[in-house]
């Protein structure tokens, strides 16, 4: 019996050494999985998407039951807002036409080329409590590439780190391992935002940066993301005199708990 147990111990130790080697080899950012991984990932993502939708459906209908009265109120507010926005939209459309006309007069080349979007569904989220990664149901077959940005209707969610044939893995901007180069929309101050295990987004800005609560944060042209993607609003700013930088907590516009459909923005930088 003792020998039997020792055999298990030896097997486990060999496996542990192999796994540690595997971790050290694969942790440096692989972008394309091997054949076996592609197969397993593909099969599991096909199976899990319907289940994810079922979960989403139930959680939404539960929260709707409890929020029934608020929904009616919200509906009225939203209707008013739609009218306001329609008016604004009209004005902006006029301005866009005017802008285009003036641009042609000046022979100004357009900086932002038209980007293509792919609609993707979320298949599943990381099963642990530590990180914020998830899988989507589009892969190389649909033209998804590594480092493509992922957006929800509200704002930036993350980027693609690994692409299989019919699925890809996404790391969200609030993940511990992700950091983004950001710019403050109002003052054009540059900083770096990184996620944490607490699922918050914290940015480090220079001490002289002019930033206040409520400022809009977008991606800068130095990041892996496309320039000018909306991230969120500033929640709080605190100074750290000894470290000579400001710590800025950003509230992401995207709701990371209730995401189901996302957009893949093509033409990410390599």
């Amino acid at each position: 019996m003792k020998l039997f147990k020792n055999k298990l111990l030896i097997m486990m130790l060999i496996a542990a050494v192999l796994l540690v080697a595997a971790i050290s080899i694969t942790s440096r950012g692989r972008t394309s999985p091997s054949g076996t991984e592609k197969f397993i990932g593909g099969v599991l993502s096909t199976v899990s998407h319907p289940l994810y939708s079922v979960g989403q459906y139930f959680s939404e209908s539960f929260s709707n039951i409890f929020n029934f009265r608020n929904i009616l109120k919200e509906n009225d507010i939203l209707k008013e807002e739609i009218n306001k926005l329609r008016e604004q939209n009209r004005q902006l459309y006029q301005m866009a036409i005017e802008n285009k006309r003036l641009r042609t007069l000046l022979n100004y080349k357009e900086g932002n080329s038209q980007c293509e979007y792919i609609v993707a569904n979320i298949c599943g989220k990381d099963i642990g409590n530590w990180f914020d990664t998830f899988t989507i149901d589009k892969g190389t077959k649909d033209g998804v590439k590594v480092n493509d940005a992922i957006l929800s209707g509200q704002g930036l969610i993350g980027r693609i780190i690994e692409v299989g044939d019919t699925y890809s893995k996404v790391i969200s901007i609030i993940d511990e391992r992700s950091s983004t180069s950001i710019i403050v929309n109002r003052t054009r101050d540059i900083g770096i935002a990184s996620g944490s295990t607490e699922s918050t987004l914290t940015a480090i800005m220079p001490l002289e940066a002019d930033i206040v609560k409520g400022d809009d944060i977008i991606t800068s042209s130095f990041s892996t993301y496309e320039k000018g993607l909306y991230i969120g609003k500033v929640k709080s700013v605190s100074k750290e005199e000894q470290k000579l930088h400001k710590v800025v907590i950003i509230e992401p516009a995207a709701d990371f708990l209730h995401i189901e459909e996302v957009f893949v923005l093509k033409e990410g930088k390599e």
Partner: protein
């Protein structure tokens, strides 16, 4: 038959955990059913089963969700081996060891995961991990572990599992 059933349980568990059980999160923490499975089988069948359940479940998790291959596999496997040592020393038909060893398993797993992340240069604070992840998950896994264990125990002693198919 037992191996086949366990393998199916591992796969179904991972699919459910990444989809439906995501909505069971309370305070951002989700019970870890892979650990519950490992603990149940380490009590019922011993170290061989729990170590291999840990290895297989961990590898699949790594492939589908992990960035580096082997992080979950390493942590689950060692947890499975350590908890597997209790086989033969506890009563199978009592639920107290299930609760106790679930709590210990969560503790071992999260600590291992912390060290692995630390050496992968991922900046995680230990106190945060302890308060926000480990302790809530201990309570969760302890409570759910004993309910799941009762059913797994009934399943494991049934004739159906003893049948051989090869």
């Amino acid at each position: 038959m037992r191996v086949l059933v366990i393998f199916t349980m591992i796969i179904v568990n991972i699919i459910l955990e990444s989809t439906l059980f995501q909505y069971f999160r309370i305070f951002g923490v989700k019970p870890d059913f892979t650990l519950i499975l490992i603990v149940a089988y380490s009590i019922l069948q011993g170290g061989y089963y729990s170590t291999f359940i840990g290895l297989v479940a961990g590898l699949i998790t790594d492939i589908v969700f992990g960035n580096a291959i082997g992080v979950y596999a390493f942590c689950y496997m060692i947890t499975g081996y350590v908890i597997g040592q209790v086989h033969g020393n506890v009563f199978k038909d009592s639920v107290v060891p299930a609760i106790l060893f679930n709590i210990i398993a969560v503790f071992i797993f999260n600590n291992l995961f912390f060290y692995v992340s630390y050496f992968m240069k991922i900046n995680v604070s230990y106190t945060y991990m302890l308060i926000k992840i480990l302790i809530p998950q201990c309570i969760y896994n302890g409570l759910l572990g004993f309910i799941v264990y009762k059913y797994l125990y009934k399943l494991d002693i049934s004739n159906f599992m003893q049948r051989r198919i090869y």
